[in-house]
């Protein structure tokens, strides 16, 4: 009873937020705000994909940027080398799925046999390899300078790109939600809780970790493609450790183990980032926004490790009780 009521009310909220987001471009005429929102949607997908690993399966990866980067470069190279039609964009998405699928499968097989921190270090190293590859394979990637490229006409208009990104986020949210609620998704959570017990129930842990790795890798790859489209430019920064750290920060601030929290975290981090960069005119310290994020991160881990969504849930549980 209570559960259905809660579900109904949360659906109502989601509906309201989506309506507000659809209305946003008609109200705001600021190009900057539109681009910022588009990036929030795209980063939200990236953060959700990271949450599949961190929040649902309990795997810590420091190399999630590799999928983001593969996505960004693949789409960029397709549009640059072939032509900038919608078709080549769609084909590039397919290529992204194939490439990230293969890479995430291999990462899963090779490294998920390792225990937590060994796995984390290995992902860091492999992401580093991709960074070096992007820097050295100059014929294709133009090295660390990167390159600009044209995008399909349909996506050139900032408003339509905004809607595409919004739709992208909503679709990915529902797909990932469905995945995490599925029998397989539940097993992932069991692995997070107690790996050894999960195995003695008859689940083969490695297979599930590979599935988690692949779902996270595919989703991250797509978000990377979309990211390249918003910038119309790609360089080695997409493989940087910063990208992974952003996802980590977003999921932790928003609330691990909740897809919604990842979206919230993405919005918060990018909005605060934009706000701080604006403040740089007032004082140079705001240019170094990483200092502030570091502080926020420490405070978040110390005082609300459950993140915003987790804290909100705790309050509601208390409210319902008392």
């Amino acid at each position: 009873m209570m559960l259905t009521r809660r579900l109904a009310s949360s659906r109502w909220w989601i509906g309201l937020v989506v309506l507000l987001l659809i209305g946003f471009p008609f109200v705001s005429d600021s190009r900057g705000a539109l681009i910022l929102m588009t990036q929030i949607f795209i980063y939200a997908v990236f953060a959700m994909s990271y949450d599949i690993l961190l929040g649902y399966t309990g795997i810590i990866s420091f190399g999630h940027a590799m999928f983001f980067g593969i996505g960004a470069y693949t789409t960029a190279i397709f549009l640059h080398r072939w032509d900038h039609s919608l078709l080549s964009f769609l084909v590039s998405l397919l290529a992204v799925l194939v490439l990230t699928g293969i890479v995430s499968y291999l990462i899963g097989v090779m490294t998920l046999r390792l225990k937590s921190h060994f796995y984390a270090m290995l992902t860091l190293a492999i992401a580093g390899l991709f960074l070096v590859l992007a820097e050295k394979w100059r014929d294709v990637t133009k090295g660390s300078d990167g390159f600009t490229f044209y995008i399909p006409d349909l996506l050139k208009d900032r408003t339509s790109l905004y809607f595409v990104a919004l739709a992208f986020m909503i679709i990915m949210f529902f797909l990932l939600k469905r995945f995490t609620d599925s029998p397989t998704g539940k097993v992932l959570q069991a692995i997070r809780e107690n790996e050894q017990r999960t195995e003695s129930l008859g689940y083969q842990i490695l297979h599930y970790k590979i599935i988690a790795s692949m779902v996270a890798g595919l989703a991250a790859g797509l978000s990377g493609s979309m990211y390249a489209i918003t910038l119309r430019f790609v360089n080695t920064a997409v493989f940087g450790t910063n990208v992974t750290l952003d996802a980590l920060l977003m999921t932790i601030i928003g609330g691990v183990g909740t897809l919604f929290g990842s979206m919230l975290g993405s919005a918060l981090i990018l909005l605060v980032h934009a706000g701080l960069t604006d403040l740089a005119k007032i004082h140079w310290i705001f240019e170094r926004w990483m200092i502030f994020f570091g502080a926020i991160y420490i405070l978040a881990v110390m005082f609300f490790p459950q993140g915003i969504v987790g804290m909100f849930r705790q309050w509601r549980a208390k409210w319902n009780k008392g």
């Binding site: 995945f179 029998p183 069991a190 195995e199 003695s200 129930l201 083969q204 599935i211």
Partner: protein
């Protein structure tokens, strides 16, 4: 009749220490076997070898005539060997219902259903609730497992094991750490399982009186070795076992 579970020369060595040494046993289908022995006799280690948490240094394990010595824990479970743990071993931050539901799902063989709607598998939940009723935990279905009392966690553990519907059940001290008031209800649960008569049960237990009334066979472990295997009556008469339990027997060999 062929034994359902069989070991031969089962030994595990951690360096020079051998917690289980040369244990050969035959467990017949649909029997109730209790394993007794003083602390440190290697009872739980023997279970770990049977269920696959540990791999033996020497010796073999057969389940239904199939050599399972090198199979993983998950594969052994799928072949019909389920176990409960002495140290409570559940999914702490999931609800009680979800804990059992995961076990039911495993039993149903739904391993990789990536995008199925939860509604499609609603019957898992029904079965899980039935099992919770069996172990008298129905009222706690929505609590988080970590918020259960110790005895309730033990019951949850048993519900999860039952959900697997394995032919062989390894019960590692199901009443460990339980308050005296809680023990009878667990015994009741075990009695019910035994009366169904289609399971083979191996039980580690310290409460001797309880063991006696249930068991068809008793295994006595002492310092990693199988000291005796017989009916409860004969074991109780055995002088060797008496001295072992009274602490008169010292291990001077190793």
């Amino acid at each position: 009749m062929q034994p359902i579970l069989q070991t031969e020369g089962l030994t595990i060595a951690f360096g020079g220490h051998k917690p289980v040494q040369d244990v050969s046993l035959n467990v017949m289908p649909h029997t109730f076997t209790s394993i007794i022995g003083p602390n440190g006799a290697g009872k739980t280690t023997l279970f770990n070898l049977l269920s696959g948490q540990l791999k033996p240094t020497e010796g073999k394990v057969w389940l239904k005539g199939k050599d399972i010595t090198h199979l993983s824990v998950a594969k052994r479970t799928r072949l019909g060997l389920g176990r409960s743990f002495q140290i409570t071993n559940v999914f702490p931050s999931l609800t009680v219902l979800e804990n059992v539901r995961l076990a039911v799902q495993a039993q149903a063989g739904v391993y990789y259903s990536l995008f199925a709607s939860p509604k499609k598998h609603a019957h898992f939940e029904k079965r899980a609730i039935e099992l919770l009723e069996t172990v008298l935990l129905g009222a706690k279905a929505d609590s988080l497992a970590k918020n259960l009392a110790h005895g309730e966690k033990r019951k949850l553990e048993i519900a999860m094991l039952l959900a697997l519907e394995t032919e062989v059940l390894l019960l590692d001290e199901p009443t460990a750490g339980m308050s005296l008031e809680e023990v009878p209800s667990i015994l009741e649960v075990i009695r019910r399982i035994k009366e169904e008569g289609n399971r083979t049960i191996l039980l580690i237990e310290h409460k001797m009186d309880m063991v006696l009334s249930f068991s068809d066979r008793l295994l006595v472990l002492f310092n990693g070795r199988l000291l005796a295997e017989d009916t409860p009556e004969n074991i109780m008469k055995s002088e060797l076992v008496q001295t072992a339990y009274l602490g008169g027997l010292y291990d001077d060999a190793s």
